[in-house]
Amino acid sequence: MSFTTPEIAWAPLTPLLIVLGASAVAILVESFVRSPETRRRTQLVLSLVALVGAAGAAVVQWATLDGAGTVVLDGMLTVDRQSLAWQVLILVFGTLGTLLFASRTRAGEEAFTPLGASAPGSSDETLARRKGLQVTEVFPLALVAVGGMMLFTSVTDLIFLFVALEVFSLPLYVLVALARRRRFLSHEGALKYFLLGAFSSAILLFGAAFLYGATGSTSYAGVAAGISSSTGTDALILAGAVMVVVGLLFKIGAVPFHSWTPDAYQGAPTPVTAFMGAATKAAATAALLRVMYAALYGLNWELSWLFWVVAIASMLLGTVVALVQTELKRMLAYSSIAHAGFILVAFAGLPDTALSALPFYLASYGLATMGAFAVITQVRERSDEGTVLGEATRLGQWAGLGKRSPWLAGAMALFLLSFAGIPLTAGFVGKFVAFSAAISSGAWPLVLVAVIASAAAAFFYVRLIVLMFLTDVPEGQEDAIEIDYSPLARTVVAVTAVLVLLLGIVPGPVLSAFENAGVLLLGAGG
């Protein structure tokens, strides 16, 4: 048995390597830099440099891409414009998320507990805070998650898919548990997220095993070949395909695999919610796209009803339950479930156009999500004694925000309008291209359901706008809310707001970029 050194094309992996390498460095930093303040600054700078550098590298890759793309690591990874587009997107979300992680500036006002392992209110924690300990492991964790997600968008092998999934999920589970305030909720969210996440990973893995068993290959190309060559339809293939898809639908947050979403969104520290909401959905969509187009395209007919049913269920459930929410983060979580439905609308029928429509949709959705949660980090409650507490996430607390802080409220309104898909925001163009994709494959009834859901969904987005702009601050509650002013978070709000507007008014360049990305190297169909 001879051993051949695998040929690895390193260059296309540069962005990925930068991020993963930086995460390794960050762990070292975590171990060896003693001063909390220095450590925090170092971590932040390192993360930003890595993420921005990786994004730059990805753009360079894009520009210098040889033909349609490169297959790396013996078919495990494929770097083409599609994956680069997603990687850039995830890097953008990562960068913005990192800024949010670092945003709390007032001493002791960070979102994360300094000592994740300690019990809330315990003497350990009090001590840690008195010592000025600051949590800095969130930065390496985030870097690992970003790396995992980037990997996730590019993998073309089922086992690697599982590995990438775990690589980005595990840090997220930890991040969710790290909220400084409302630790119980944070723990609870993390526990649920973790348990269900692991559960769904197992399902995905088992499905992968079935596909391997039925086709004798774990690479997408091999699976696709196996599917097309199998005479009749193999139950093993079908069961395996469904399980893989279900594992990914879990990450997208589609009904009935959505249950973790509201709890994790609400429990997690808001910066984590922002990052997770935007990036996970994008990564999972990218992975689902590639699995469907590169591996399971032959099962299009068999699986399309699944997308129809799940899409409709997600849109309706997400919308109607969001209607009755009074907790802001939870409302946005249900809104994200509805958006998962919209994503699947574009999927149904697997039209070519979905390959360029979905990156745009996720870009618009992700930016608005980042922005909205960034705004939430800035609105804090205040106790009767005047101490600033956690974020004010009860809807009623936002009454009159337009008067307290017109710009912040205006930005929030913009994000909400984008969610609702009102023209001149990115969300509208996103909906337009997604619906176009669906209609091009004949799924117009699905689109009809989608627009009805959108119209109903507008109600709860608008309700918040009503509260912010058309309702006065309740009598005697003038001091109950503190508007935080964190330059980093404000930067995130400003950048996302501008991008949401730009993508809504002049989406041309981005659209055409994604149009270029709409071709898969090694696509099984289309």
Partner: protein, 626 residues
């Protein structure tokens, strides 16, 4: 001057606009501007008339092009005037009687703070009425038609601080609008069948049209005419319209506007010629209304309402005549003109009485006024003789001809129409005599505060002029069939059929009936004492006093169901239509409330959801795939 006939409309219109916009500073002299405008119109009309008389009869129709009105692709319509003997007749009637009434009003409205506005409305009316009769197309006619309706509305409601007067004004407008539907639909039919709305094109296209088409148009025109001319079943507004100041009643609701329906029918003669059924309906409506009006007139104690009922009845005569075809057109218009004089005169007389009696209108509180107001008595008396049809006064010449014409025809029709006209003459004699005797003869039944006195010259002079007209106009115009010949270019030459009874018999019978009616009235109301309050009466009298329960019928058939319908709809709109919207919203919310229960916080049930979902999906996919 014929080309300047647009001045007839423009001058009063400008005056109306001026008076409305001038404001308080014109209060002192504004009414003279109104009188001046009306007189100016009369002068223009008179000059035009003289000029027209100088022309050969076939050249007397003169078209005046004003401007391009509607330049639609298919509906192309110019605003233009048609000056011919028919319209000229109306011009003279309207401007002459109108001017007299303007003058009368100067005194009558002297103490009203809003006299300027009153004259503005009167001018507006004159302009609109002249537009109505001069228009050369149905659409332009409609402008005048609605214009007079508006003026009528404004003037009936002139004292609208009394709520019932405001209601009367509304009623007049709304009932007229019901008639307007007829005119609108008639225009729709004409445009559909003929592609035009101007008289020239429509009449030119008539020969090619089917009888059914013409009948439809004719009936729709009749609906319009019924509304404006207070013919059955749209007569209910006229009595209430007496809420307006008396000069208004004289001008609009006796002499001119209410006769516009007759004008419309006569003007549309070519259409009716092709639609015998429509024509018969016109006549039947006329006959019915003339009896109905007479019966109502017999029971009324309010002098103005009795006169209004009489107007209705007299217009019934005109309608009847107009429905007889070419035979009757000229007589219809003839009677219209004479009626314009004597009825206006009587209304002015009534106004004079009210003026002297502190606005009392109940005839049971009058009596023996002949001594207190001699001029009024004499002038009113001449009008009375005229309407009775006593030779040689005006009414005799016109009404007798109509009765005679009504007896022309085949089958039972002449007997019914003629009989109605004949009986109507008797009834007219009774109720008009009753009115006359109750007011001017018998014992004085005045209350203590009333000191009847004659009206000032500004009021009596117009009354005298109209009385002279009432006395002699018929004779003048009837001599040598002058009026019939004058109208012949418009109405066409009519071959006189023979009445089913000899003309002499008809005339004698008429006169006998008239004498009988007057005699009964004298016995009951002249010679005998008239109770000061209305005595209990038979059912028939009660019905007549209540306008044959027309208001009750309207209320029962339209108003109440309408109110209920409106209320129901308002409720339904809120509860059902809007309710459905709210219900949808609530349904969404309730679904949300129910659905959120599935998110129960228990991680194991979440996992169960996933597993169940997964199993179902696998089963379906695998089953479907195999």
């Amino acid at each position: 001057m014929l080309d300047l006939t647009w001045l007839l409309i423009a001058v009063p219109l400008a005056s109306a606009a001026f008076l409305l916009l001038a404001g308080k500073r014109a209060d002192r002299w504004g009414h003279w501007v109104g009188v001046g405008a009306s007189s100016a119109a009369f002068v223009v009309g008179l000059v035009a008339l003289i000029q027209m008389l100088g022309l050969d009869s076939e050249d007397r129709a003169h078209a005046v092009h004003l401007f391009t009105w509607i330049p639609g692709g298919e509906l192309n319509l110019d605003a233009g005037l048609l000056v011919d003997p028919l319209s000229m007749t109306f011009v003279m009637l309207v401007t002459f009687v109108g001017t007299l009434i303007h003058v009368y009003s100067v005194a009558y409205m002297e103490h009203d703070a809003s006299r300027r506005r009153f004259f503005a409305y009167l001018n507006l009316f004159v302009a609109a009425m002249l537009l109505l009769v001069l228009a050369d197309s149905y659409l332009l006619l409609f402008v005048g038609w609605e214009g007079v309706g508006l003026a009528s509305y404004l003037l009936i409601g002139f004292w609208n601080h009394k709520p019932e007067y405001a209601t009367a004004a509304n009623k007049a407008f709304v009932v007229n609008r019901i008639g307007d539907i007829g005119l609108i639909l008639a225009m729709g039919l004409m445009f559909t069948y003929f592609g035009a709305l101007d008289f020239g094109s429509v009449f030119a296209a008539v020969p090619q049209a089917s009888t059914a088409q013409l009948t439809a148009i004719g009936l729709m025109l009749l609906v319009a005419a019924c509304g404006k001319s207070a013919q059955f079943p749209l007569q209910s507004w006229l009595g209430d319209a007496m809420a307006g100041p008396t000069p208004v009643s004289a001008l609009i609701h006796a002499a001119t506007m209410v006769t516009a329906g007759v004008y419309l029918i006569v003007r549309s003669a070519p259409i009716f010629e092709g639609a015998p059924a429509a024509q018969t309906t016109v006549a039947a409506i006329g006959a019915f209304t003339l009896i109905l009006g007479a019966l109502i007139g017999m029971a009324k104690d309010d002098i103005k309402k009795a006169l209004a009922a009489s107007t209705m009845s007299q217009i019934g005569y005109m309608m009847l005549a107009a429905g007889l075809g070419p035979v009757g057109y000229a007589f219809a218009i003839f009677h219209l003109v004479t009626h314009g004089f004597f009825k206006a005169g009587m209304f002015l007389g009534a106004g004079s009485v009210m003026h002297g009696m502190n606005d009392q209108v109940d005839m049971r509180r009058f009596g023996a006024l002949r001594t207190a107001m001699v001029t009024t008595w004499v002038t009113f008396g001449l009008g009375w003789l005229a309407i009775l049809g006593v030779p040689p006064f005006s009414g005799f010449w016109s009404k007798d001809k109509i009765i005679e014409a009504a007896f022309i025809g085949d089958d039972v029709q002449p007997w019914i129409l003629g009989g109605a006209a004949l009986i109507g003459a008797g009834l007219t004699a009774f109720y008009m005599s009753r009115l006359f005797f109750m007011t001017f003869h018998g014992k004085a039944r005045w209350t203590d505060e009333q000191h009847p006195h004659e009206s000032p010259a500004l009021m009596t002079v117009p009354m005298i002029i109209l009385a002279v007209g009432s006395a002699f106009l018929g004779l003048i115009l009837a001599t040598g069939d002058r009026f019939v010949t004058w109208l012949e270019p418009v109405t066409g030459h009519a071959e006189h059929g023979e009445p089913v009874l000899p003309a002499a018999v008809i005339m004698v019978a008429t006169l006998l009936l008239v004498a009988l009616g007057a005699w009964i009235a004298w016995r009951k109301y002249g010679a005998a004492d008239v109770p000061e309050t209305a005595p209990a009466a038979s059912l028939a009298t009660i019905a007549a006093r209540n306008d044959m329960f027309q208001d009750s019928v309207n209320r029962g058939v339209f108003e109440r169901p309408g109110t209920h319908l409106t209320r129901t709809l308002v409720y339904a709109d809120a509860a059902l239509v809007d309710g459905a919207v709210d219900a949808t919203a609530h349904a969404f919310a309730r679904t949300g409330e129910v659905t959120r229960k599935t998110q129960n916080g228990q991680v194991r049930s979440y996992a169960l959801t996933m597993v169940v979902g997964l199993v179902i999906v696998i089963l379906v996919v695998v089953q479907g795939g195999l």
